[in-house]
C-alpha cells in the first residue's frame, strides 16, 4: 500500500531503462540527496562531521569498490587496506611533485594508479579461488604496507616515514592541510561518493555487471557461454581498486591529514571494509552504503552512549563495545545473512502488501 510498483507506465525504452524506474524509489533517492546536501550540512556539528559523516563518506566509496569485486564478481579480497595505501601514497606523491595540480585531479589519478596496482594483484585470481584467493590478497596487503614503510622515496625521505598533506584549495576553499574546513571537505567527499555510486550502479546493471555476476555465480559456466573470465575478473579488480584508491587518497588528504602506513592502512582496514559489505549486503550499492554507515556509526554511538551518557570507565566501555559489535554481527548474520540490503527489500515487500499478509 505504501510502496507501489504498479501503475507506472513507460512509453519509451529510455524511460524504462532508467536507474530508478519506480517513482517512489526516485523520490526516495532525491530526498536522500536533499538531506545529504542540504539538511545534514546545516545541522551537523563539527564532532559528528569528523567522527561519523566524513569517515562514512570515505569508507562508503571503499565499500562500493570492494562490493564490485566481492559482491558482484565474487572475488573475496582482503587487500583493500593495502590498496587504500596505494591511493594515499600516490596522492601524496602527486601533491608534492606537482604543487599546482588540482586536488581533485590528484585524487582521481591516485585512483588510476591504484587500479593499475590492483590489476597486477588481480592476476592470480585467474587461478586461485575462494578462501585461497582471500588469503592470497593478504600478500598484497602485507607487501604494499612493507613497501611504503621501507622505500624512502614514497614518503619523501621524511624522518619518521609519516606523510603529511600539504595545503590545497578547491574553488577557493581550503580542503587539505592545517587550515582545512570541515564543510568543503564534506561536500567534496559527498560529491565524489554520489558520482562514483551512480557510476557503479550503472556499471553493474550494464553488460559489464552482467559479466561479473555470471563469473560470480559460476565462472566455468560463464566461460562456456562466452564471458571472458580474464577480462571480467581483471576489470572488476581494476575498477574496484580505483574506488578503493580514491577512498584511500581522500582518507589521507582530506580526513586524516597525516598518515603512517602501518597504522592507518593495516589489515584491520581490510577487514573493516569487508565487514561493511557483508553486513550491508553483497551485490548491492545501497547495501555498501548502509553497511559503511553501520560499521562507522555503531562504535561511535556505543561509545557516546556508554561513556558520555552513562559515564562508564573508558576501558570497560571499549571492551563492551567490542562485544556488542561482535554480537550484532552474529545476530545480523543469523537473522538476515544477506545483509541489511535484503532486510530493506523485505521491508519494501511488506510495505507493498500492507495491510494484507499475502
Amino acid at each position: 500500500m505504501f510502496y507501489r510498483e504498479a501503475g507506472e507506465f513507460k512509453t519509451s525504452y529510455r524511460a524504462d531503462q532508467q536507474t530508478f524506474p519506480i517513482g517512489l524509489d526516485k523520490l526516495g533517492f532525491y530526498t536522500s540527496l536533499l538531506i545529504a546536501f542540504v539538511v545534514i550540512p546545516l545541522t551537523m556539528s563539527e564532532y559528528w562531521a569528523q567522527a561519523v559523516f566524513l569517515p562514512f563518506l570515505i569508507f562508503g566509496i571503499a565499500a562500493i569498490g570492494l562490493n564490485i569485486l566481492t559482491g558482484y564478481c565474487g572475488q573475496v579480497s582482503l587487500g583493500s587496506g593495502g590498496f587504500m595505501a596505494v591511493g594515499a601514497y600516490a596522492c601524496y606523491k602527486l601533491m608534492t611533485a606537482f604543487p599546482d595540480m588540482n586536488i581533485l585531479i590528484c585524487v582521481l589519478l591516485s585512483g588510476g594508479v591504484t587500479a593499475f596496482v590492483g590489476l597486477i594483484f588481480g592476476l592470480p585470481s585467474l587461478r586461485i579461488k575462494g578462501f585461497y584467493l582471500a588469503v592470497a590478497t593478504l600478500a598484497a596487503q602485507f607487501f604494499l604496507v612493507w613497501l611504503f614503510n621501507k622505500v624512502g622515496w614514497f614518503y619523501n625521505y621524511s624522518a619518521s616515514g609519516q606523510i603529511t598533506a600539504p595545503e590545497r584549495t578547491l574553488f577557493g576553499y581550503v580542503i587539505t592541510g592545517a587550515k582545512a574546513e570541515t564543510l568543503p571537505i564534506y561536500f567534496v567527499c559527498l560529491g565524489l561518493l554520489v558520482f562514483l555510486a551512480v557510476i557503479a550502479r550503472n556499471l553493474t546493471r550494464g553488460a559489464m555487471g552482467r559479466k561479473w555476476m555470471a563469473i560470480r555465480d559460476m565462472d566455468i559456466a560463464a566461460e562456456i557461454i562466452g564471458v571472458n573470465p580474464l577480462m571480467a575478473k581483471l576489470t572488476a579488480f581494476a575498477i574496484s581498486s580505483f574506488y578503493v584508491g580514491i577512498s584511500g587518497a581522500l582518507l589521507f588528504a582530506l580526513y586524516l591529514g597525516a598518515v603512517e602506513v602501518g597504522e592507518a592502512f593495516s589489515i584491520q582496514k581490510s577487514f573493516l571494509i569487508l565487514f561493511m559489505i557483508i553486513i550491508g549486503g553483497l551485490g548491492s550499492i545501497f547495501g555498501s552504503l548502509v553497511g559503511a554507515a553501520f560499521m562507522i556509526a555503531m562504535p561511535v554511538i556505543l561509545k557516546n552512549l556508554l561513556v558520555t551518557s552513562l559515564g562508564w570507565p573508558g576501558d570497560i566501555a571499549a571492551h563492551l563495545e567490542f562485544m556488542i559489535v561482535g554480537l550484532m554481527i552474529i545476530v545480523f548474520l543469523i537473522l538476515e545473512p544477506h545483509g541489511l540490503a535484503m532486510l530493506w527489500r523485505i521491508i519494501k515487500e511488506k510495505l507493498r502488501i500492507w495491510p494484507f499478509s499475502h
Binding site: 570497560i316 567490542f322 552474529i330
Partner: protein, 332 residues
C-alpha cells in the same frame, strides 16, 4: 666461508622450529574447516582466550573483577590461591569445551547451510566478541605465563656444536622452548591421528569431513560432532596459546598469531593436517632463510610477514588447492 654456512644451517633449524609454532595455530583452523567447512577466523582469539583463562586460574584471578569493582566499588582482584599448572590446564580445557558447546548452540546451529563467506563472517563476529569478553573477564594488562617449560638457548647444543665452524662460529642456537614445542606438537598430531583413526568418534569425525549428508544419513549427529571439533580446536588453541604465551607473555597481540597461520593454510591446503605441518615447516624455513639471505642484507629486513604470503601466493598459482588440499573438480 664455513661459519656462514653453519649459520645458514642454524637459521634453517630455527625456521623449522618457528614452522612448528605456526603449524600449531594452523592445526586448529584445519580441524574446524575439515569438519564443518568453516574458516574460523576466531582461532587466534581462542588461543589468546585459552591462555588468559589458564593464567587467570593459575594466579587465582577473579573473573570480571574490573567490572565488578567498577559497579560495586569493591576492591577485588584475586582469590588468593595459586592453582598448580596441571589443574589450571584442565580447568582451562573445561572452559574451552563449554565455549565450544556455546558456539555450536548459539551460532552454528542457526547458520547451518549458509554460504562459507557468511560462516566466515560469523567467526569474525565471534572474534570481536571474544576480544572484548576476554579482556573484560581477565583484564588487558600483560600476564606472565609460566607452566614450568624452561626457556632460553639450549647451551648443551650450543657448546657441543661450537667446534664445527671455526672461531667465528658459536655453535647452533636453539631455543629450549621451541624444542619442547616441537615434541608437544608431534605428540599432539600423533594423538589426533590415533583419535581420528582408531576411535568411534574419530571415525565419525572423518565421515562428517568426507560428506555431511551421508554422515547424517547413517545416524551421526552433526551437532555433536561440531561441538567435539570445536572443543578439540579449543584444546589446540590452548596448546598454541601456552607456547606462544610463554614466549611473549599473555596479552592482546597473541591473537595476531592467526595471521601467521594463514599462509601456512594456503600452502598446506585448508583440509589437510599433514598439510598444516608441512606447510608450516616450509613457511617457517622459507621466511627465515629469505630474511637471512636476501631480506636483511639487501632489502633492509622485516620481510618475513609478506614473504610468507608471497611464497604461498606463488605456490598457489601453480597448485590452486594447496599442497595436500583435495583436488578441485568443477562441473557446470
Amino acid at each position: 666461508m664455513p661459519a656462514e654456512f653453519y649459520y645458514g644451517v642454524e637459521v634453517f633449524l630455527n625456521g623449522l622450529m618457528a614452522g612448528v609454532m605456526y603449524s600449531l595455530v594452523a592445526l586448529g583452523f584445519v580441524l574446524i574447516f575439515k569438519a564443518s567447512g568453516i574458516f574460523n577466523y576466531a582461532q587466534g582469539i581462542m588461543a589468546l582466550f585459552a591462555a588468559l583463562t589458564l593464567v587467570g586460574f593459575q594466579e587465582g584471578q577473579i573473573p570480571f573483577s574490573h567490572l565488578i569493582n567498577a559497579i560495586f566499588g569493591t576492591e577485588l582482584h584475586h582469590f588468593g590461591w595459586h592453582m598448580p599448572a596441571f589443574f589450571a590446564i584442565l580447568a582451562a580445557l573445561v572452559i574451552m569445551i563449554i565455549f565450544a558447546w556455546l558456539v555450536e548452540k548459539l551460532i552454528l546451529q542457526h547458520l547451518v547451510n549458509q554460504e562459507p563467506i557468511i560462516l566466515f563472517m560469523a567467526t569474525i563476529g565471534l572474534a570481536y566478541f571474544m576480544e572484548g569478553f576476554g579482556d573484560l573477564m581477565w583484564g588487558s594488562n600483560v600476564k606472565k605465563l609460566d607452566i614450568g617449560i624452561p626457556q632460553g638457548g639450549n647451551f648443551w647444543i650450543e657448546e657441543s656444536t661450537a667446534f664445527l665452524g671455526g672461531p667465528d662460529f658459536y655453535g647452533f642456537y636453539l631455543d629450549t622452548l621451541d624444542i619442547y614445542a616441537t615434541f608437544i606438537a608431534a605428540a599432539l598430531v600423533i594423538a589426533l591421528v590415533i583419535f581420528s583413526q582408531y576411535t568411534k568418534t574419530g571415525r565419525a569425525l572423518r565421515a562428517v569431513a568426507d560428506d555431511h549428508q551421508a554422515a547424517l544419513s547413517v545416524g551421526i549427529s552433526l551437532r555433536a560432532i561440531w561441538v567435539i571439533v570445536w572443543a578439540i580446536a579449543g584444546f589446540v588453541a590452548l596448546v598454541a596459546g601456552i607456547m606462544w604465551g610463554a614466549k611473549s607473555g599473555v596479552q592482546f597481540s597473541l591473537s595476531l598469531i592467526a595471521l601467521k597461520a594463514l599462509p601456512v593454510l594456503m600452502l598446506g591446503g585448508f583440509t589437510s593436517i599433514p598439510g598444516a605441518i608441512i606447510g608450516g615447516l616450509i613457511i617457517g624455513v622459507g621466511e627465515k632463510m629469505f630474511e637471512f639471505l636476501i631480506g636483511a642484507p639487501l632489502l633492509g629486513g622485516a620481510t618475513e610477514n609478506w614473504f610468507a604470503y608471497m611464497v604461498a601466493l606463488v605456490f598457489l598459482v601453480f597448485r590452486p588447492q594447496g599442497l595436500f588440499g583435495e583436488k578441485i573438480i568443477e562441473r557446470v
